[in-house]
């Protein structure tokens, strides 16, 4: 096979894997949007915050060490323990659940019945708050996240493809595990929402708030539940992205990358988030590979948005979104 085709296939495969990562973030958006009609801009910062908390717990950092030192003139920084990864993940999850409860109690409860734009702005405010809070709590330096996922080139694939085509594909082990984790996560979420009582209640709320209330479903509990699940998804996304490129501020920007994925897939569809992520991931890698060098590279910055924009002009509700019916 000619080299160009092989490179293209490699780029497409890597794009698919990157797309899975986008889907992970997009999933969190869809969950919250479906259940509460809130477009949660803070999803990316939640991933950052979750990853920061995880690293902090694992390394035994003292929370707010910087602030405490500044006020009391002390010199604390570490507790001096090293927590096993699994325990740290569970504790980080507990923190995210606590966060969900606090958000519901102090923000969402007061904003019922506001316009969507106001709710959207509130989540941006929340994102700012969490960003500063996370930095205050754990420090703003770049941290290495290691929960025992294998990294680096997958030797088996490299060897097999070399034997077949005379060119070894570079596929990162981390991307493969991310794909597997995402698959498991989606399966669990679908099973949960289809076959459990709480899942059914969640879908009822997504369908119609008032009808759900009138049959005795607690809206507030469902919101806490949904935000906890979104926190969990954020934690998973944070682990994956954090292992890949370190835990730092830019992690929160993946939220922006998830937006075109959502637009393509439709805000209300879980399969849409997955398919959208795959299309975007593959599309931008292939575009960068084929057209990028001609126009100066770094096209990944905008390609996804342009693709989504052009796509939306023809199908305003996205691939799997519900048909928009407007009445006067």
């Amino acid at each position: 096979m000619p080299d160009q085709v092989l490179f293209g296939i490699e780029a497409a495969t890597n794009g698919l894997m990157a797309g899975v990562m986008y889907s992970l973030v997009a999933l969190g958006f869809v969950l919250i949007f479906k259940a509460s009609g809130i477009f949660n801009y803070a999803q990316g910062v939640m991933a950052l915050f979750a990853a920061l908390t995880l690293v902090g717990l694992q390394e035994g950092q003292v929370p707010f060490a910087h602030l405490i030192n500044a006020i009391f003139g002390t010199e604390v920084h570490h507790f001096g323990w090293h927590m096993p990864a699994l325990l740290a993940i569970l504790l980080a999850l507990a923190v995210m659940v606590l966060f969900a409860i606090l958000v519901e109690r102090y923000v969402l409860k007061h904003l019922v019945n506001q316009e969507p734009i106001i709710l959207f702005m509130a989540t941006i405010g929340l994102a700012y708050f969490m960003e500063g809070f996370g930095d205050l709590m754990w420090g703003s330096d770049i941290k290495k996240l290691d929960v025992g996922l294998i990294q680096g080139i997958n030797a088996t694939i490299d060897e097999t493809t070399y034997n077949w085509f005379g060119y070894g594909f570079y596929i990162d082990n981390l991307d493969i595990s991310a794909t597997i984790v995402a698959a498991i996560l989606v399966t669990v979420l679908v099973l949960f929402s289809q076959y459990t009582k709480q899942g059914r209640a969640m879908r009822a709320v997504a369908d119609d708030h008032q009808a759900a209330l009138s049959v005795g479903i607690s809206l507030r509990f469902i919101w806490v539940l949904v935000w906890s699940i979104a926190g969990f998804v954020a934690l998973v996304a944070g682990i994956m992205w954090g292992s890949k490129s370190g835990v730092q501020f830019s992690l929160s920007l993946i939220a922006l990358k998830a937006l075109p994925v959502l637009m393509l897939g439709g805000f209300t569809s879980i399969p849409g988030a997955i398919v959208g992520g795959l299309i975007i991931g593959m599309g931008e890698k292939l575009f960068e590979f084929a057209i990028g060098p001609m126009i100066g590279g770094a096209t990944e910055n905008w390609f996804a948005y342009m693709l989504a924009l052009i796509f939306l002009v023809f199908r305003p509700q996205g691939l799997f979104g519900e048909k928009i019916i407007e009445r006067v």
């Binding site: 500044a70 007061h110 702005m121 405010g125 500063g132 205050l136 637009m263 509700q317």
Partner: protein, 358 residues
């Protein structure tokens, strides 16, 4: 002389439809103008100009622009930073290509160019609505910033990829470049602010403004009663981008002097200006000023208090600033979702009724 219309008899239609129907408002407006033009330029120094007044004025223009689009016409845009970059680069290209051209017209023309680009990116708004549109405008933001980074023609092939404002004068007074006096910067921006605010006020209460508001409140219904959505939406995009382009040109040429596009006009700028619109109040000219003032002044005050008075490290202060800004935005939205302008309206209503409660 109390704050009310009673006793202030209007004898002509022009008087009846004036912007400030109440005497005290009218007087207050002229007093503010007189102070802005007659007092501040003599007192201003470099710190006050660069930290407070010039950014305040420039952000006020950008906020007015976005408020026309989002507050009056209901089209949420996250591309403000990108459009400001268009204004900045258009101004730069005009300044370097036509050195004799008056800087005042450079800035105006930069606004015109931005209006054209805005209309282009506004076209999808005819099909896409709501959040989908907000995300679609992100395409403009990222694409424009990328383009100004990658196409060397825009930054005149300079090695650093930066654009630097050359020195230009207006009636013998230096307006741009490193040797500009604080009062010159301030006055130049102030003239634009006054002109544009006057324009915005009169556009929004006329035919155009009513079309925009009809589209905002319900676009299908507006279409049925005879508002042309193509004309209304695209004119809103054009006017809004014109304002934002001028703000971008001033931000680059007068305020920064040198700019790198990703840093000066990134996505953070789009959010900042959207915050100003929301905190000030959607669909309000006064709100645009109030929102801009709030978000320009708060970091300055916080920094002075935390670093200057309490002596904390700057990075802690910076993080705390994020926390406080975030918390304030959320609190604001909970307490008064319609922004500072609504508070002002309530106060005025109370004053008019005083001493009666209702």
């Amino acid at each position: 002389m109390l704050y009310r219309e009673a006793g202030d008899f209007k004898t002509s239609y022009a008087e009846d439809s004036q912007t400030f129907p109440i005497v005290i408002d009218r007087v207050g407006y002229y007093v503010v103008l007189a102070i802005a033009f007659g007092v501040i330029p003599f007192l201003i120094n470099d710190y006050w100009a660069n930290a407070v007044f010039v950014p305040l004025l420039i952000y006020a223009i950008a906020t007015l622009g976005l408020n026309i689009l989002t507050g009056y016409c209901g089209q949420v845009s996250l591309g403000t930073g990108g459009f400001m970059a268009v204004g900045a680069y258009a101004c730069y290209k005009l300044m370097t290509a036509f050195p004799e051209l008056n800087i005042f017209f450079c800035v105006l023309l930069a606004g015109g160019v931005t209006a054209g680009v805005g209309v282009l990116f506004g076209l999808p708004s005819l099909r896409i609505k709501g959040f989908y549109l907000a995300v679609a405008t992100l395409a403009a933001q990222f694409f424009l910033v990328w383009m100004f980074n990658k196409v060397p023609w825009f930054y005149n092939y300079s090695a650093s990829g930066q654009i630097n404002a050359p020195e230009r004068t207006l009636a013998g007074i230096v307006i741009t470049g490193p040797h500009t006096e604080a009062w010159a910067k301030y006055l130049f921006c102030l003239v634009f602010v006054v002109l544009l605010a006057w324009l915005a006020r009169n556009l929004t209460r006329g035919n155009f403004g009513r079309q925009w508001m009809a589209i905002r409140d319900m676009d299908i219904a507006a279409e049925i009663i005879g508002v042309n959505p193509l004309k209304a939406k695209l004119s809103a995009f054009a006017v809004s981008s014109f304002f934002i382009g001028i703000a971008g040109a001033l931000f680059f040429a007068v305020y920064l002097g040198a700019a790198e596009v990703g840093e000066a006009f990134g996505i953070q700028k789009s959010f900042l200006i959207l915050f100003m619109v929301i905190i000030g109040g959607l669909g309000s000219i006064f709100g645009s000023f109030a929102g801009a003032a709030f978000l320009v002044l708060m970091p300055v005050i916080l920094k002075n208090v935390l670093v200057g008075m309490l002596g904390w490290q700057t990075d802690i202060a910076a993080h705390l600033e994020f926390v406080i800004v975030g918390a304030l935005i959320v609190t604001f939205l909970i307490l008064e979702p319609h922004g500072l302008a609504q508070l002002w309206r309530i106060i005025k209503e109370k004053l008019r009724l005083w001493p009666f409660p209702h």
